[in-house]
Amino acid sequence: MFKSEPKSIVQFLATHFDLLRQLFDIQLKNEIILKSQVAETLDEFGRDIESHLFEHKILVEQNDDFVINEPYFVLFEFVLQQFKPLLPEEIDKFGQSIRTLFLNIKEGINQDKNILLDRIEALSNEIKKFRTAVTNNTISLLNESRELKANTRKIEYQEKVQTARYLIDYYIIPLNTILDINHSQSIYNELLAISQFSNNKRFDYSDESIRRQFEKLYNLLRQVVKDISLQSIILSNELLPLLDRIRTESEYLLGFHLYLTNMNCYKGIKPPKIFSTSRDNQYNKYIYENTKEYFEQFKNEEDVFVEEEANDIEQWIFNKNEYKSKLNSKLPVTDFFSWCKNAIENEKKDFDIDNYFMVTSLIFEEEYDIEQDKKREKITLKTKQGEFVIPKLKISKKENVSE
């Protein structure tokens, strides 16, 4: 029960509409109004009205926070024409109850009069709810699609395409099915069947009160069918083309995106061919542009990638242990450098000088003793990369070295 007069409640709504709208927007966005958000809003609009919010049952507690009481919320949705789009399943539930009630009416047409009256009334109520749901939904989808088209939120195109696709797949196409006259399972067709049935029964039923009830139902349906078909027209004439347009544009935008991303436009993708103008006279009106174009064709702005030629030379890996054991088996060797040459030549006739020096690195192993030739004789080593004059060195096993 309200303490306040109905008139003063309505007056309160009008006087403090801005505050209420702010609370409504908060709830629309967050589904709940935090205690702190109520306090902030009251700070802005005046604390003295806090008690009225609860007296008039505008705000109700939900755990520690608040929500706008359902009847008020529906009223604000309606007066502000801001509806959250309903999922097709939410609309379809009206279809289910309409179908069930209609079936029960048909089956129980000759049974108890009172239940038949109640069912006809319940069916009318469900039909009205269905109409409201469809109308509100079309309005909200239209608003969402227009906002998307105008990109009022300045979102990037990927998100835009995603949202458009989401709206189409989950809301608009299913809603279209519900309203589609050509779809045998559509609620619209069910309403037409009910309309036909009630049209018959309003003349052809023994009881007058039931006839009158069918008459009312028939009149309601005449209007509802008209309204629903209008919504269907909005859907197919405005909403679907609008989203289709977003889809077409998105194809272009995807194309631009692909072209510009990673500097693709300067790399592999060739632009459309256009005509290359030939020789010009100096008094040609466009001599500047033509000359510029002429010179630009020699300018390579594209990234140039130089691929190094694959190295055909076979990689040679120095197997130190193998060479070491070969050397050990020949020790002492009087001319180490010549031995190295022969050793590598046995494995790789066309050896590289780098390979040769790798073999000569054995000289630094701790286990060997190196002795220069007493005559300080030098040897000459000829390779394809040049001629080397190197000392003749004797190499032998060092005594008392642990292996």
């Binding site: 990109n151 935008l253 194309g255 510009l260 300067y266 632009p271 005509f275 103008t277 630009e296 064709q297």
Partner: protein, 175 residues
């Protein structure tokens, strides 16, 4: 013997101009399309291309840099118009743009790397020259008074090309 305005049509196309549907030459070309296709092919080895809305010539030797600059220009402009909540197809088709407006769109674009890398787009003066000279010369843009420009239907060559990229990419992915 030759169609009416033959000289103007040939000169125009050989200047690299697009002949668009709103010009009188377009109708003459359309009526004599077979003649002109053969004429350009036999006389110069050029190919006369056409869409529902414009005619243009292509040669083996092509102006790739210019075409690329224009393609990038339209890609960025459309992208930015869309981000600004505008219907870019309608805008390009039916609106006039002040050159400063165009420059602002390109300069403030999120595709800054692409813009910076392009000599025709990386400063205001170059953009003005690309639109006011290069594109006007080819009848892709039309200059009006007060530094305002509109675009002829030839813009579609450059944006349809981008759309085709996606289609071919999708086909490749499907195959």
């Amino acid at each position: 013997m030759y169609p009416n305005k033959h000289k103007q049509i040939v000169t125009s196309l050989m200047d690299g101009r697009f002949i668009t549907i709103d010009e009188s030459y377009f109708d003459i070309l359309k009526i004599n399309q077979d003649f002109y296709v053969e004429f350009f092919d036999k006389s110069f080895g050029f190919e006369l291309k056409n869409t529902q809305e414009f005619y243009y010539l292509i040669s083996d030797e092509t102006k790739e840099n210019t075409s690329r600059d224009i393609s990038i220009f339209f890609s960025i402009l459309c992208y930015e118009l869309d981000k600004d909540g505008k219907n870019f197809m309608d805008e390009l088709g039916f609106s006039d743009f002040h050159i400063d407006e165009i420059v602002e769109y390109i300069k403030n674009s999120t595709w800054i790397d692409v813009v910076k890398a392009n000599k025709q787009l990386n400063d205001g003066e170059s953009i003005k020259r690309l639109v006011g000279s290069t594109m006007v010369k080819r009848n892709i843009a039309i200059q009006h008074s007060d530094d305002k420009y509109s675009f002829t239907k030839a813009y579609k060559l450059f944006i349809d090309f981008a759309r085709e990229l996606i289609k071919s990419e999708m086909n490749e992915a499907n195959s």
